[in-house]
């Protein structure tokens, strides 16, 4: 087990270095940051001086090593746009993204699992068909379109919910939360749904097909033969066995929710890391881009590791495999 964890951690480290390297290569194509930092009337000499100070004239390899060295010390430099340490900016935006991601993950689980179970048990009812249609829409509509449609319906036409932002937030130490105010909660609804819709569809379809599969197995037939009530057969035996892959997917999806929050955050002007990153791309703000990519890679890798471990904890068969390996 320990060997397994260590092996995974080494892999994780490698993944992060590769992400950093690819990111760094890409930065050469985002344009000249200096142009975004000064007015158009700034002279060539001053621009050149600035390039020198920022180290943009150094060879890429030197820049990369310098970056990695600083990153190891949790120093990601200062944002070109905001002239603030990147680490502060990200720490400032991190809670917003996490709250949004967790809320939409919960939303997709809380609605996705029952909907999937229902669709599996009553395969031909009109409600199941309706769920499947909705999930098709959820999978095929691009996030920004869903977001804009929701805004126009619930904010512009009905005036029920705010069209953008996070509402009022309360600071609890370093963490700012919108969960404690009415406007904060209202502000979470639309972006939460927008971001969670795809996951909801995915989980619902997954639960449905897994459940159908499991219901065909011998032990379900046996359970029925034993005369167990439907409730126990479905939820005690069938659903439990369905949840192993669901858990894996949901865990992995949490990573992509955090990463793909970029679009939802842009549509709702949600002050999270994704929005910060997108702005950074537009303005060639390399320190923010590199720190964000590393952080997201780290989150992905960590979640993967946790999911692997949980998987082993839940499914005894995998534990045996691991011990043999």
């Amino acid at each position: 087990m320990l060997a397994f964890i260590i092996r995974r951690m080494v892999q994780a480290l490698l993944v992060m270095i590769v992400v950093a390297l690819i990111a760094f290569t890409l930065f050469r194509f985002v344009g000249d940051p200096v142009n975004q930092m000064v007015g158009i009337e700034t002279s060539a000499q001053e621009r050149e001086l600035l390039r020198q100070q920022l180290g943009l004239n150094d060879p890429v390899v030197v820049q990369f090593i310098h970056f990695i060295w600083s990153a190891v010390h949790f120093d990601f430099g200062a944002s070109y746009q905001f002239k603030q340490p990147v680490i502060d900016l990200i720490a400032d935006r991190f809670p917003a993204t996490m709250e949004l991601s967790v809320v939409s993950a919960l939303f997709s689980l809380v609605f996705g699992i029952p909907m999937g179970v229902y669709a599996a048990l009553h395969r031909n009812s009109w409600l199941s068909r309706f769920f499947l249609t909705v999930s098709l829409v959820g999978i095929s509509l691009p996030t920004f379109l869903t977001g804009i449609l929701l805004i126009f319906l619930f904010a512009v036409s009905l005036h029920w919910l705010p069209s953008f932002g996070r509402g009022d937030v309360v600071a609890l130490g370093f963490w700012t939360t919108g969960l404690l105010t009415k406007s904060g909660l209202k502000a979470l609804v639309l972006p939460g749904i927008t971001l969670g819709l795809f996951q909801l569809a995915l989980i619902m379809r997954l639960v449905r097909s897994e459940m159908i599969e499991v219901l065909r197995t011998d032990y379900i037939k046996f359970a029925r033969a034993r005369g167990l009530p439907d409730r126990i057969v479905y939820f005690g035996h069938a659903l439990k066995n369905t949840l192993v892959p669901v858990m894996t997917i949901a865990g992995l999806q949490l990573g992509s929710i955090i990463a793909f929050a970029i679009i939802t955050e842009t549509v709702f002007q949600w002050p999270g890391m994704g929005l910060l990153f997108l702005k950074a791309v537009q303005n060639a703000d390399i320190p923010i881009m590199s720190a964000y990519l590393l952080l997201v890679a780290f989150i992905f890798v960590t979640i993967n590791l946790i999911v692997d471990l949980l998987y082993a904890a839940v499914d005894p068969r995998i534990r045996i495999d691991l011990r043999q390996a």
Partner: protein
């Protein structure tokens, strides 16, 4: 900062639980870009300067009609052509309670011209700023300068003591880890005080009860939020979540006007959108003509000019939200603009001119164009491509995001372009800025006409430009400017000015605003019912 945010957040929460507060008038506004720095010297950008104009003040300001009016200086006189005397307003206090005196002016002059300042052009580098007494300051110049205070409405006076106390003696450095207090906090003399600033997210302003002037605005509180997504910004305006939003995309204007909750306020902007040519390289970098540069021939430039139907661009691409321009400067900024008329669209003459110049079957050239900088910039370029195709000029369009575009065409990219679209606003609201930047010769390093990307160069225009700088008599000066334009634009076709794009502010029906063509949002003139 964190602590203050915390207090504020708790305060807001309490206010919420206690029910709606009393009748505070709150004005909320949204802009597509961020308020990047609160340090008024660290970024020379219209939006930043406009917003900070509610917090900081210059010695002189500009009124609703852009006329120069007294600000922190009550009056001033030109004692001799090279010596200007400013009499400062008495009894003015900075937001932190310190008195405003001549020391602050001398300090601000040094700081604005000091290292890492992006507003160095606000006053001449060799001007001496001398304190005569606590409320009198002299500016001693090396030569006469009739437009000395033309840009002072955005040269904001900072408190010497405050900068000293907070270790912000120089403008926020563009590079490096050292963070400047002034980049995240503000201490001006203006009608509004910044009480909270979260860079890139929101900024909170409170009315300054001790302001020296009489405030037209009835706002107690102002909240600024960045909303970068166009559709969201329009939705926020329509749903009443913000009272003012800028810019409103052209295609959404009819919808906003029909909404009944908000209207789009359109007005001419000062920025001129134009096309430019590489007219100095012996051979164009991006063309099928080898061994010579077609744009060196004024007839080719004229042909391009006549082949472009600007009226169609203004009507169709800009949906009427543009004013075709004969000059590289807005008519609002040059009194003699009326003497210049834009030559009419004439593709037949254009073909003939091209044939005369030796290109009867046209030629190919690449055009550089930004696609996220100006209103419908890429669409304008596409229209230009189609129009030039009619006179057999084949344009290969390279439209890129601004970060890529500017790093290619500006001095930092070695002026790497053959034909380009650009926009320009004269920071000083004056033709000298246009002549100096666009019509003056430059070298490879950009010394001279730094933004004369195609390096148009004429000794007579050069001479006129230098005369314009020092001529104090307005009528004479205007004549000199006119002469320069007659040579550079009318005779030599140095550029193809297209239009001044229109501003499109989305304004809630509850709010009354003042829109100035320089697109500064000065909400101290706004009111809300």
């Amino acid at each position: 900062m964190k602590f203050r945010t915390a207090i504020l957040a708790v305060g807001l929460a309490l206010a919420f639980w206690a029910g709606p507060a009393s009748a505070t008038v709150t004005f909320k506004f949204a802009f597509q870009g961020d308020l990047k720095s609160l340090d008024p010297y660290s970024l020379n950008e219209t939006f930043t300067h406009g917003v900070l104009g509610n917090v900081y003040e210059g010695l002189t300001k500009r009124g609703k009609d852009l006329k120069i009016i007294p600000g922190l200086a009550e009056s001033w006189e030109v004692i001799e052509p090279t010596r200007w005397r400013f009499h400062l307003r008495k009894g003015v206090k900075f937001h932190d309670g310190q008195d405003f005196t001549a020391d602050d002016v001398v300090f601000s002059a040094d700081r604005a011209r000091g290292p890492s300042s992006d507003v160095k052009t606000r006053l001449p580098a060799d001007a001496k700023v001398v304190k005569v007494d606590d409320y009198t300051v002299d500016f001693i110049l090396s030569g006469p300068n009739p437009i000395l205070n033309a840009e002072w409405d955005t040269w904001y006076i900072m408190s010497k003591k405050w900068c000293e106390e907070h270790n912000s003696l120089t403008a926020q450095p563009q590079a490096g880890q050292q963070m400047n207090f002034a980049a995240l906090h503000a201490n001006g003399t203006g009608p509004f005080i910044i009480t909270e600033h979260q860079a890139g997210v929101r900024t909170l302003f409170k009315r300054n009860p001790k302001w020296w002037g009489k405030l037209e605005s009835n706002f107690d509180e102002v909240i600024f939020t960045t909303i970068s997504n166009d559709a969201t910004r329009v939705a926020a305006l329509l749903s009443g979540d913000v009272d003012w939003a800028d810019p409103i995309p052209l295609q959404d204007i009819p919808r906003v006007n029909a909404s009944g909750t908000a209207k789009v306020l359109q007005g001419p902007e000062l920025r001129t959108i134009f096309l430019g040519f590489d007219q100095y390289r012996p051979e164009l970098r991006y063309s099928n003509i080898k061994g010579k540069n077609p744009f060196k021939d004024a007839r080719v430039r004229e042909a391009f000019y006549l082949a472009i139907d600007e009226k169609a661009i203004a009507d169709k691409v800009m949906r009427g939200a543009a004013v075709p321009s004969a000059l590289m400067i807005s008519p609002l900024l040059f009194d003699l603009s009326k003497d210049f008329v834009r030559p009419a669209y004439d593709p037949e003459k254009a073909k003939k001119l091209l044939a005369d110049a030796g290109y009867p079957s046209g030629f190919e050239v690449t055009m550089d164009c930004p696609n996220d900088r100006y209103v419908n910039d890429e669409a304008i370029c596409q229209a230009v491509v189609a129009m030039l195709a009619r006179v057999n000029v084949k344009i290969d369009l390279l439209a890129q995001p601004k970060a890529k575009y500017f790093s290619k065409v500006l001095v930092s990219g070695g002026y790497d372009t053959s034909f380009y679209l650009l926009g320009w606003t004269p920071g000083s609201f004056d033709s000298w800025n246009i002549l100096a930047n666009m019509y003056r010769c430059r070298d490879e390093k950009g010394v001279g006409g730094n933004n004369n990307l195609g390096n148009y160069c004429d000794p007579k225009v050069e001479e006129l430009t230098n005369q314009v700088l020092v001529e104090g008599d307005k009528a004479k000066r205007d004549q000199l400017i006119k002469q320069a334009y007659e040579i550079g634009q009318v005779r030599d076709w140095a550029y193809v000015p297209l239009h001044q794009q229109a501003l499109a502010w989305g304004v809630s029906n509850k709010v009354k605003v003042v829109q100035r063509p320089d697109n500064q949002i000065l909400f101290y003139w706004f009111r809300k019912e």
